[in-house]
């Protein structure tokens, strides 16, 4: 099995976003296909705090990483989340 580090560093931005859409489907299936990469989760699609925390919890599970609470504000869109995950993994 790939580690989070090797998995994400070998994934490009589009592949990470595709994975994030799959994760988002588990949280809110009705928006995962329609949401744009730059759309704001909260302002454009109305995800509430529980849905955002569930999304983060599922990212932590699927990418096997830890996302501290202080970083939650950086995960406001698919693009931003993918950038965050990529940068975090490269920094490991």
């Amino acid at each position: 099995m790939l580690t989070a580090h090797s998995k994400t560093t070998t994934m490009n931005q589009n592949e990470i976003i595709a994975q994030l859409r799959t994760t988002l489907y588990d949280v809110k299936p009705q928006i995962s296909a329609a949401i744009g990469n730059a759309d704001n989760f909260r302002d454009d699609w109305g995800l509430d705090s529980l849905e955002l925390v569930e999304f983060v919890a599922r990212i932590e599970q699927s990418f096997k990483i830890l996302i501290p609470d202080k970083d939650l504000k950086e995960l406001y869109s698919l693009n931003a989340t993918a950038t965050y995950l990529h940068s975090k993994m490269i920094a490991v």
Binding site: D48, L50, V53, A57, Q61
Partner: protein, 309 residues
């Protein structure tokens, strides 16, 4: 650690409570759980002690000890570690050696349940953020296991005490917590269970602050539940917790239950969030092997609990 294989418990107890250790060891033996007994003198052993004696074939640790010691100091967290694995570790406070008897009765009841389905009671303080979380858990679980939402907005304290006697595998509470109990249900305290005559829960998880803390109480709420025979095990925090961490626990518990996890120790190992502070504040009280199965007839009894919806 699976319920259908022979399991190995490391049972640690004070040298001057040898009889309590013997009773516990015999009880686990009757449940096909092999207990290796270790005695200690003075205060409960420090983590270094376990590093020296834990072997890879140990599935769980139960530390019995004098009630004067608090969960926060009796164990460093809900798990101990060997070179290769994480082991659930539980605390059992005793005033006298005979305090083990009600606990042993509960052990026998919950372990002898037929291996059917888990059943979960979802409990919460009457507040939108906790009610929303229990609804989300219901949505995630109800296709796989029976779930009963007995939150503070639809059931009274007296009725929820009665409902918890249905014999379900587990209960989970969300809301504010104190060392003496839950803030929800207009204040739930251990004395509200004094006339409890129902079937015990396998385990009761309080995903909130402080229910295993000793602040201004001789015995915490989480400790009193297994000692009173309300549940075989309890899971509670020894200090403040963060709601986001408890939400992560909740989501991960749903995933673990949906994967078929059947006992408390495995559930906690599979569901623990990755940040250490979300985990280290919690302690397991009572039986680390507590099964999540529901009593025969328990689902039927739970379905008959009236709520105001």
């Amino acid at each position: 650690m699976q319920l259908n294989k022979n399991r190995h418990l490391l049972l640690v107890y004070p040298a001057d409570m040898r009889l309590a250790g013997k009773y516990l060891s015999e009880a686990y033996s009757l449940l096909n759980i092999h207990a290796t007994c270790i005695e200690y003198s003075g205060r409960p052993p420090a983590p270094d002690f376990y590093r020296q004696i834990l072997s890879e074939d140990v599935d769980a640790v139960l530390v019995a000890g004098k009630k004067m010691y608090a969960p926060s100091t009796a164990l460093p967290g809900p798990f101990l570690f060997t070179q290769k694995k994480k082991i659930p570790a539980a605390w059992l406070p005793l005033q006298e050696e005979t305090d083990v008897f009600p606990f042993i009765q509960t052990l026998k009841k919950v372990h002898r349940r037929k291996k059917t389905v888990p059943g979960m009671a979802l409990l919460a303080q009457w507040h939108p953020q906790y009610l929303r979380l229990t609804q989300r858990m219901t949505d995630l679980l109800e296709d796989n296991i029976p779930v009963f939402k007995w939150t503070g907005d639809i059931i009274t304290r007296e009725d929820v005490v009665n409902a918890l006697g249905c014999g379900l595998g587990m209960g989970i509470y969300f809301g504010h917590g104190r060392s003496v109990g839950w803030v929800g249900y207009y204040g739930m305290r251990s004395h509200h269970f004094e006339s409890f005559t129902g079937n015990p829960l396998g385990c009761m998880l309080s995903l909130c602050c402080k229910t295993a803390s000793r602040k201004r109480t001789g015995l915490s709420y989480a400790e009193s539940l297994p000692l009173m025979g309300i549940s075989a095990a309890a899971f509670g925090a020894v200090r403040e917790t963060r709601h986001t961490d408890n939400m992560k626990w909740a989501i991960r518990i749903c995933d673990a239950v949906n994967e078929g996890i059947d006992n408390l120790g495995d559930l906690l190992i599979h569901a623990e969030p990755p940040n250490i502070e979300a985990v280290e504040h919690y302690r397991i009280i009572g039986d680390p092997f507590a099964p999540l199965y529901t009593d025969a007839g328990g689902i039927k009894r739970a379905k008959n609990i009236a709520v105001c919806e």
